[in-house]
């Protein structure tokens, strides 16, 4: 079983929601990333989304754009990311890792070579922001054949018909984009999210994870009440930006932010103890 499916089935048994942090690999320099990943796991990450830096991150706001710039200035390439995952796997064989980014770096490596190498190093899922399901007919089957989940986005603007097609093709989990906009923008409306998730529940058994607009424990808790997973990006990347010149302080800063989210989410979704058998 793919590590993603494994992790979600464990969480379901425990009645808990997945906490999914996103950081950009190679930010502020490639040698720090694996250490940051371990820190995220220690603070309660269930799945790690590792951003592949790209020169033109059209779907991202300034926080992640700048992270891409720092990572690229430090020479980070997609092949380096794959090496990072291999290194991470030496001491963590359980935490699922999802690569998230844009298509062009994958195109340059070649779909087949990329899918094979990703599986080899222990990547569990790939989410390509600028590859909607209509354009996934070449890459997605290659990923699947190698046991790597092709993860897709659903947006507030997605029609029911499209959503059905996306659910049918999707794998691992569905990434629901909580708002119209780029990463790191605006404030999320949990009621609105819940309204959009309800029809998706009828279409699929895939875990529904929500990203965009999750900034702290409070927003994470709100989303945890209605979704299977909570994805936090810019709030964490901001901590890396704050400490870009003192990277040794980053793990602590990441743990503080993520730990808050973990506690708030678990508190918000804990089964009512009064009813529990003693």
């Amino acid at each position: 079983m793919n590590r993603i499916d494994q992790r979600f089935s464990e969480l379901k048994q425990q009645g808990r929601r997945a906490l999914i942090p996103f950081i950009t690999a190679g930010d502020p320099a490639p040698r720090y990333t694996v250490g940051f990943m371990h820190a995220l796991v220690e603070a309660g990450a269930d799945v790690i989304e590792l951003g592949v830096p790209f020169s033109d991150p059209m779907a991202d706001g300034p926080v992640i754009q700048k992270a891409c710039e720092r990572a690229l200035a430090a020479g980070t390439r997609l092949v380096d990311l794959l090496d990072m995952v291999a290194e991470f796997r030496r001491t963590d064989s359980a935490t699922p890792v999802v690569l998230m980014g844009y298509l062009n770096p994958i195109e340059r490596i070649g779909y087949e070579a990329f899918a094979r190498r990703a599986a080899e190093v222990g990547v569990d899922g790939v989410l390509t922001v600028d590859m909607p399901p209509e354009e996934a007919d070449e890459l997605a089957p290659l990923l699947k054949a190698n046991g790597v989940a092709a993860i897709f986005l659903v947006a507030p603007t997605t029609s029911r018909q499209r959503a059905a097609a996306i659910c049918a093709q999707g794998d691992g989990y569905l990434y629901y984009v909580s708002l119209k906009g780029v990463t790191g923008s605006a404030t999320l409306n949990a009621e609105d999210v819940a309204e959009h998730l309800a029809p998706l529940r009828e279409l699929t058994d895939l875990p529904l994870c929500v990203g965009f607009g999750i900034r702290d424990g409070a927003t994470a808790a709100e989303v945890a009440r209605v979704a299977d997973g909570v994805i936090a990006g810019s709030a964490l990347v901001n901590r890396i930006a704050d400490n870009a010149t003192t990277p040794e302080a980053v793990p602590g800063a990441l743990k503080a932010v993520l730990g808050d989210m973990r506690r708030a989410m678990d508190a918000a979704t804990a089964p009512d103890l009064a009813d529990a058998p003693r």
């Binding site: 790209f54 020169s55 033109d56 991150p57 059209m58 779907a59 706001g61 300034p62 754009q65 710039e69 690229l72 390439r77 997609l78 092949v79 844009y102 298509l103 062009n104 770096p105 994958i106 195109e107 340059r108 490596i109 922001v129 600028d130 590859m131 909607p132 209509e134 354009e135 897709f152 986005l153 659903v154 947006a155 507030p156 603007t157 997605t158 029609s159 499209r162 996306i166 984009v177 119209k180 906009g181 780029v182 923008s185």
Partner: protein, 395 residues
């Protein structure tokens, strides 16, 4: 025509984040319902005639032709259009689509500022709110057009990220569109971007080629031997070429920005440098990028050609060999700019001067009874500062 998925052979498509899929499906539907609608076409033609000033003349550059001592050079005078370039043909068309879709706000990306000015112009005319994204480098080198847009009531937003040129302006426009997709119509300025933009921008600019074909038959008495146009994203070139595609005797030349020379790597010529395929801004095409898939820095004296990609239909024409893609270097472009200005009293845009530079190479190798039609895509007023600086003149 592209296939149902918006592909021209292996190129094109719709590589966008999910949030935009519905807006593109909407646009595709609206355009499909209007493309063959006589009332829509009549409205478009009316605007082109009475607002843009079409048809634009096909002018015989006799003195320059004689000086070059070869083929006869004819200029398709898109510089005489309202707002000074071919860009207005497309913005008039897309403004009609914006009106039909009932959106109160339009956005655009611009390099040289010509597309921004054309968009600000139609927005003013229709009473639409208008924001234009422009790379900070281009804001600096195209100050005149920036001020024109502001006078027209548009907001010009300088983009500081990346290479601070056209591609970054397009990234920022896409970010805006994702955020404001409910009430905003994105007027893309060239035959690139996600389907259906490459199709509709080509359709709106094909008026250039339809006129040029008719005018050639009338004025030359036959079809020309060759067509030449500059290629940034490729909208003026496709506009001229498309109605001639079936005319096998007509050779076609797309001229990219050679910058310091294709061999130096400092250029913006994805097709003539043989750049690999890649995906950017919603379509698959020839794309200048490094081995790791990061989009490469480009260089050109002309802001309007300073783009690492090219429209997907051009990528197909390159592969099937219908169009020859070549590059003109900055030096040759400036020389052609000065020559046309001196000999014909027409000051071309630096973008258009790329096409002129190629005509200057070709004409002497041809006979005086042969004919070349060059698309004079825009006028050079906006570039006076750039040329003056090279002459050591500061205003």
């Amino acid at each position: 025509m592209p296939d149902a998925r918006g592909r021209f052979g292996p190129y094109g498509g719709r590589f966008v984040s999910e949030t935009l899929s519905f807006a593109l499906e909407d646009l595709e539907e609206i355009y499909a319902s209007l493309r063959d609608d006589p009332a829509f076409q009549a409205e478009f033609d009316h605007d082109l005639t009475h607002y843009v000033g079409r048809p634009s003349p096909l002018y015989h550059a006799e003195r320059w032709s004689n000086a070059l001592g070869g083929a006869q050079i004819w200029l398709k005078r898109e510089d005489l259009n309202h707002t000074g370039a071919h860009k207005v043909n497309n913005t008039i068309g897309q403004a009609l689509l914006a009106k039909k879709s009932g959106k109160p706000r339009v956005i655009a990306e611009t390099g040289a500022g010509q597309h921004g000015v054309a968009t600000a112009t139609v927005a003013a005319r229709l009473g639409l709110e208008c924001d234009v994204y422009m790379g900070a480098t281009d804001v600096e080198r195209q100050k005149l057009n920036v001020y024109r847009m502001r006078l027209l009531g548009a907001r010009v937003i300088p983009v500081e990220s990346g290479t601070r040129t056209l591609k970054d302006a397009m990234n920022e426009a896409l970010r805006d569109w994702v955020t404001n997709v409910d009430d905003t119509f994105y007027i893309i300025g060239t035959v690139a971007g996600p389907h259906p933009y490459p199709l509709l921008v080509r359709d709106f600019n094909a008026v250039v080629g339809r006129e040029a074909r008719r005018q050639s038959l009338e004025q030359i008495g036959r079809l020309p031997d060759a067509l030449v146009a500059c290629v940034g994203g490729g909208s003026n070139a496709l506009g001229l070429f498309y109605p001639f595609v079936e005319d096998e005797g007509v050779a076609m030349y797309g001229v990219e920005a050679g910058g310091d020379g294709v061999a130096t790597g400092r250029h913006a010529a994805p097709l003539s440098s043989g750049a690999p395929r890649g995906v950017l801004h919603g379509n698959r095409t020839y794309l200048m990028s490094d081995d790791a898939g990061q989009v490469a820095d480009t260089h050109s004296i002309s802001a309007g050609l300073d783009y690492p990609g090219v429209g997907p239909e051009h990528a197909l024409w390159k592969d099937v060999g219908r169009v020859n893609y070549v590059a003109a270097n900055d030096d040759a472009v400036l020389e052609a700019f000065r020559e046309l200005t001196h000999m014909e009293g027409i000051m071309p845009a630096l973008e258009s001067a790329h096409a002129l530079a190629q005509a200057k190479v070709m004409a002497p190798t041809m006979r005086p009874d042969q004919h070349i039609v060059v698309n004079l895509s825009g006028r050079g007023d906006k570039d006076i500062m750039t040329v003056a600086k090279l002459d050591g003149i500061e205003f």
